[in-house]
Assembly symmetry: C2
Homo-oligomer: 226 residues x 2
């Protein structure tokens, strides 16, 4: 299938490359293709400019949010949470209508010192904000509770025995995402229920960032033992 992965950061690149390995046609979406390709800076996390990354990942296409989404059967939101709604509006409600949107983003606010806070929480979630803004799109929240490299390689920890969660209002959309998760190697996919349950997984981020600090690595994930 044709998949638009909105974003060009480490999450978008990692997920996009993994989906290509699964045999899918993947286009990363960005606001301005020329501007994205003109960048020459390596970011604070050590990620190389996208133009350089694409030399090693030539099968991953690049296009505008709008064209990537218009051509896609499935859309993945891999933008930063703080710019997700703007990116999706740029993609266009008409291009998102009827499609499954897999939302990986978290509503992190990095504006203050210290660990990031959440700009929406507890009585609402980013996933629900997106669903309300695009009511004809079938939003499924998943994969937002671990590092990008583990999203697509769950076998790298605990022999693949850690857990991933799904939240969504449309059962058939959740089924599409669940099958994709299985293809990525996930075995313990926990369906939490409707999209409001994304409040729970987004609110995992505060302990995630503190575990990342305490353990000194992002190479960890939660396994729900029962």
């Amino acid at each position: 299938v044709r998949i638009a992965v909105l974003g060009t950061g480490i999450v978008a690149r990692t997920v996009g490359a993994a989906l290509v390995r699964l045999g899918e046609e993947v286009t990363l979406g960005t606001r301005d293709v020329e501007a994205t390709l003109a960048r020459t800076d390596t970011d604070v996390m050590g990620n190389v400019p996208l133009a350089r990354w694409r030399e090693e990942n030539p099968a991953v296409r690049l296009d505008t949010y709008r064209r990537a989404t218009a051509d896609a059967d499935l859309v993945v939101n891999a933008t930063a949470g703080s710019s997700s709604l703007a990116a999706l509006h740029a993609a266009g409600a008409e291009n998102l209508a009827g499609k499954v949107l897999l939302d990986l983003a978290n509503p992190l606010d990095h504006s203050a010192d210290g660990p990031p806070t959440l700009f929406v929480k507890d009585t609402d979630s980013l996933a629900e904000q997106i669903q309300r803004a695009f009511p004809d799109t079938r939003v499924v929240k998943s994969l937002n509770t671990m590092s990008a490299h583990l999203m697509v390689a769950p076998g790298a920890l605990a022999d693949g025995g850690t857990s991933v969660f799904t939240s969504g209002d449309d059962p058939s959309a959740k089924q599409v995402v669940t099958e994709l998760l299985h293809r990525l190697g996930w075995r313990d996919v926990i369906d939490l229920g409707d999209l409001s349950t994304a409040r729970g997984t987004e609110m995992l981020l505060p302990v995630w960032v503190r575990l990342w600090q305490a353990l000194g690595t992002g190479h960890f994930n939660f396994a729900v033992a029962r």
Copy 2:
């Protein structure tokens, strides 16, 4: 050692009985001993009245918050989060001064329909509220991320391999709690850092309650695989 366990609900009873099995002197604390013993109702969760429970747990004493705390070497807050500060004020700052306070409570707000929300979160925590109210007490947050029966029997899941977190500003107090956790059977005790990291573990509750609903049981816990 003499331990005051503030509260008379299922968490207080379960932890109190377990500490007696470890050989400690345990006193549950309540606001009004006569009123607590006069209750004859079984609560909505099926817990019998305290007077009946004490017949089977005669070694667990009962006294006022104040006297239980005054006599204790270690204090455990096992009250509901919404009444923790009131219970601790009743115990008395002078009786809490210098002592380790193990805080098990979560800031759950059950006032609306649907899953509980958190009455403090993200930029503050119940543990920090308690620490600010009782600056001479050494607050350690732990054991607030699983069901009561698992707090004292971690071996009941995943061969004892699940995780428990500690947060606190006083390293020696955290050491006291960590040794107690080891005696209860916990092997994977993750020190998240200072007390502000309790924001992370308290914010685990929203996904915990949704997992409880999705799995149909509270017999689960998080293992941090790394």
